[in-house]
Symmetry: C2
Subunit: 604 residues, 2 copies
């Protein structure tokens, strides 16, 4: 009863671990043929397993009595065949040492070989830096994952999550598994639904996050909870979105926000130190939401470079340039960024920048180039010398700089210039790619006005605690209330977000009022949670980190699909298994549902 | 921006950690009021947090200037109020020491108190061993989880899963997260389906296990994989079933089965040693499926006690008792168990045992009581003295024993006597509840004949490797082929099951033939997996453990619901959140489905 009992060779070493110290030892290796080379009478194979690659040489003169059959087998090997090899570790001759691989000082002189399995010729080479269409990689994901850079990514992922668990365990957090078959909740993104067989017409929802359950665990007195949790959002997918994703969910009671933030900083800093060997300075910088929007035009700024947005509204408020003046008069803003050393950009280059800015809503992009012989700009003539000087001073302009301006509503200015800043930062090589720049964004707005619904909606969720000093405004000027909410940002990505939660009934009621709910409606929507909150809820709060995104940044990859073992495409398809798929009529009948539109009908 | 900034007291100690060494220290504690007692002018509260309970005393004479207001607050406290208390740790007087709690030598003399939150009177006391209907506990799960025995269970669960992860990490296993939105697969239990918004008429399925993905990871060369994975089965639920459950999923390549089993034994033994302090002898006993069925009438025997099934078919094959004789002639079995010391059972007691046996298909239960003055039995008259002697010898009967017999098809005999054995073992106190008796069941049948489908079906799944020595029978006598499949059994529960997998094409084809599939049908059902197997699949196999069940046994609980934080009832309902629930028409319309039957229509 032994799965490999029909094979005589039993692996006792791994390919990648062999070193000069092993010389003289007889070893048995198992793995995949990376490639085979014939060299006169000799056959060389590179043998690969999870630990790495080693060179095996088949020399008929050294094999002994079975030379003929061994050489015959060796000759039949093709890429990706699975074999076991027995042989002796020998030092390579000085001139054949391969310094590129850790096992390069030795090779294994084969004595015996067994083919465990054959392989068809794979659709792409099993090696790094291949230039293969992603759809092919996804269809043959099991082969894609064989490539060392993919394997290494998942080793890193395993280690990172292990590190997180060890850290939180040391800090007395309990990992608790919360349900996947949950109740559909209002006020969130679109749910994935699961029809119930035992309750006709009713549905479970897959969790968008364990938010409610983690708050309930605080009501339960668990005090410190975490979970590496799978979450689901049926939203339209982008390169950095997946229908299912992994979230590190953390919640605690009785801890002050500064303490909690310091703990989260230590978690991240120690993980990056441990896994990547980089030193992350603590405490992390903090920017309020307002500052971040003002200075970077983004609530997830990449602070690895400057080129901050400068407000010149005051300088141009009474200028002769009508576009700027009227924008300021209408309550808008005029801001600029300084593209250092880009004064020589061609008209075409500047046009391209303008097109880019327009994608983010800007109506145009004004510019000034600071040349040796003065300002070159289509709009310079509208300004007085003093105004020009004011603009240059504001943007700290020097000779050779290109200044770019957007005048619009504050949100449009932020979006357009914020994204232009990122684009230019990358193109001008201003970003130190080896750096990991963490920061906190704090004091987010609690509510935003939803024109469509004609009411305020929660920016985070309806249980987010307002800042104490803004509590009074909840009834008078809801838009001005700041939340005890915070995001952790890394290199321009939001990697985590959280808040302190409302835990007192009177504040929760004021919040629902601000959202335009009667208490009856509120109970209808969130009844069980509100009821739970009546039974001694401690002060609590937490955070949720996007594990996939953090791993993507750690592994230096551009797509979430590279850090998820079996990801889906932007249409939510698994190209390998072809999920989703048709199911039998019996299956959907048992669930008391009927698919409304067969595919054909939809196409019509 | 501090969630508790409106409170002045900051917790610096935990209730349960205070000891005689802390005497003289001023501490701030936060937690829940377990109970309040008034004693003259003094007020005592037991304050509870996650770490335990400590007594706090409010003595107006010791509080100082603010005595009046502090006493007023203390007087207003009710059970489950959340408070912070500042006070001095003092030693209790000798005669008031409470040895039942770790903090019983000290108490805290309160100086200040703040109520963080009030609480309604909870529907049951927050204490162990409550006698409350389970539905009430489930509805108020957040309060149920406050009870120390529940908290302790989840601390144990956290530690057990942590131990497993640490162990497997040391052994070079990589944890890889596999998808939750997968493809519905044939040949399994009933799937939970998830309608796709982007692919009208198509469905994802929630995974019954990560089986296919873990095998693909072996094709990928990950070599050693594990995952603590949520799995789903839409089956009819019993006390020991939940619609979603947690599985420890392990798969490896290039390892012999004995090596792998030894590793799994070490994992379990070290975990039980580490967490429960019990010594588990290794190697675990092994029984083949056949032996287990023969001796215990079960493929998951509880071997903490004897009372094995004894085959008396040979002895009674030619006897004068027609029921026994004709059963043997028809190819059935006659077996008995020996209920030691039960010769005095009343007719009524024996009738009850018979009724019990009938539930498992037995047509009757024959018996013999071995009394001082000979055999008492309604059937004794049908046997010769030699036959009686043979029966007694076979069952090692002594004076005072009660022998119980079932004659039927082997499966019915096994079921009825196997369950009777368990019932009697418990009732007679033969089971040492402090023992953990692990064993392996091996050599399971590969296939069983499905009368309904008119073909053989896989007992485990279609990728289970047959035993090498039985391979030839796959075409000639499929029912006799044993699988390289194994279960780990603990105290009568199957806690894990696995197999070595088919990794060679020719064996897989033979297997599909035995299952009555053409290769075309096989490709239709399992295409992507069969294709993957063409590209250099290593020998591999694995196991899946039921984490919930293991925890239930470790925690000494009777129900899976006690080891799952937010479990569902036997109708799949979460009584706290009332999932599943109605959803809006907009929601199901977007998914291109239509609920067929409203609840009312089904009832009609």
């Amino acid at each position: 009863m032994n799965g490999v009992s029909r094979f005589t060779l039993t692996r006792d070493h791994h390919c990648g671990e062999l070193r000069i110290d092993h010389v003289g030892k007889t070893v048995v290796l198992s793995g995949w043929v990376q490639r085979r080379r014939d060299f006169g009478k000799l056959i060389f194979i590179d043998l690969r397993d999870r630990s790495g690659i080693v060179q095996v040489v088949f020399d008929p003169e050294l094999i002994g009595t079975e030379a003929e059959s061994v050489m015959e087998v060796a000759d039949s090997l093709r890429n990706e065949y699975v074999v076991s090899v027995q042989g002796k570790v020998v030092a390579r001759a000085e001139n054949t040492i391969n310094e590129k691989i850790p096992t390069g000082e030795i090779e294994v002189q084969a004595e015996k070989i067994e083919i465990l399995n054959a392989s068809k010729n794979p659709p792409f080479y099993i090696q790094d830096h291949i230039d293969v269409e992603e759809n092919v990689r996804l269809k043959y994901r099991y082969l894609d994952l064989r490539r060392p850079e993919m394997l290494n990514t998942f080793v890193l992922r395993h280690k990172a999550i292990k590190f997180i668990r060890d850290f939180l365990d040391r800090e007395n957090f309990l990992e608790v598994e919360t349900p996947m078959l949950t109740r559909s909740t209002p006020e969130g993104a679109r749910d994935y639904l699961v029809p119930s067989r035992l309750h006709p017409g009713e549905f479970y929802a897959l969790p968008q996050s364990p938010q409610l359950f983690k708050q309930l665990l605080m009501v339960s007195g668990f005090e410190r909870y975490f979970q590496v949790a799978r979450c689901f959002r049926d939203e339209d997918l982008r390169a950095d979105r997946q229908p299912e994703f992994t979230q590190l969910d953390i919640e605690q009671s009785f801890m002050s926000l500064p303490e909690f933030q310091a703990l989260m900083e230590r978690l991240m800093a120690e993980m990056f130190q441990h896994l990547l060997g980089v030193e992350i300075p603590r405490p992390f910088p903090r920017l309020t939401y307002k500052e971040a929007m003002d200075r970077y035009g983004s609530d997830k700024p990449d602070i690895r470079f400057g080129m901050e947005l400068k407000d010149i509204s005051d300088v141009v408020a009474t200028s002769g340039f009508k576009v700027f003046r009227s924008t300021v008069e209408a309550g808008g803003k005029v801001k600029g960024i300084n593209a250092k050393g880009c004064a020589g950009y061609s008209r075409k280059q500047i046009d391209e920048l303008e097109q880019f800015a327009k994608r983010y809503g800007a109506k145009g992009l004004a510019w000034m180039a600071v040349n040796e012989d003065g300002i070159k700009s289509p709009i310079a003539k509208f300004f007085t010398d003093a105004e020009i000087e004011g603009i240059l001073a504001n943007l700290e302009a020097e000779q050779g700089d290109l200044l770019l301006f957007v005048a619009d509503k504050p949100k449009v200015v932020a979006d357009a210039l914020g994204n232009l800043r990122l684009k230019l930062g990358k193109e001008l090589g201003m970003i130190d790619e080896s750096r990991f720049a963490f920061l906190w964004i704090t004091e987010f707005p609690l509510l935003s006005y939803d024109e469509e619904e004609g009411r305020y909606v929660a920016e985070h969720h309806p249980f987010t605690m307002p800042m104490w000093e803004d509590l009074d405004k909840l009834t008078t000027s809801p838009a001005e209330v700041r939340a005890q909410a915070y995001d952790m940002v890394l290199n321009g990505y939001e990697i985590g977000g959280g808040s302190m939660r409302i835990f007192r009934r009177e504040i929760q009621e004021a919040m629902f009022q601000a959202l335009g709910f009667t208490m009856e409606e509120a109970w209808d929507k969130f009844g069980f949670l509100l009821e739970a909150f009546e039974y001694g809820t401690p002060p609590h709060g937490g955070i949720a980190f996007g594990i996939d995104r953090i791993l993507m940044i750690m592994a230096g990859r551009q797509s979430l699909r590279d850090v998820i073992a079996f990801p889906k495409t932007s249409s939510g398809t698994d190209l390998m298994t072809q999920a989703p798929s048709d199911v039998s009529e019996r299956q959907w009948r048992e669930l008391h549902i009927r698919p409304e539109a067969a595919k054909e009908e939809v196409v019509k």
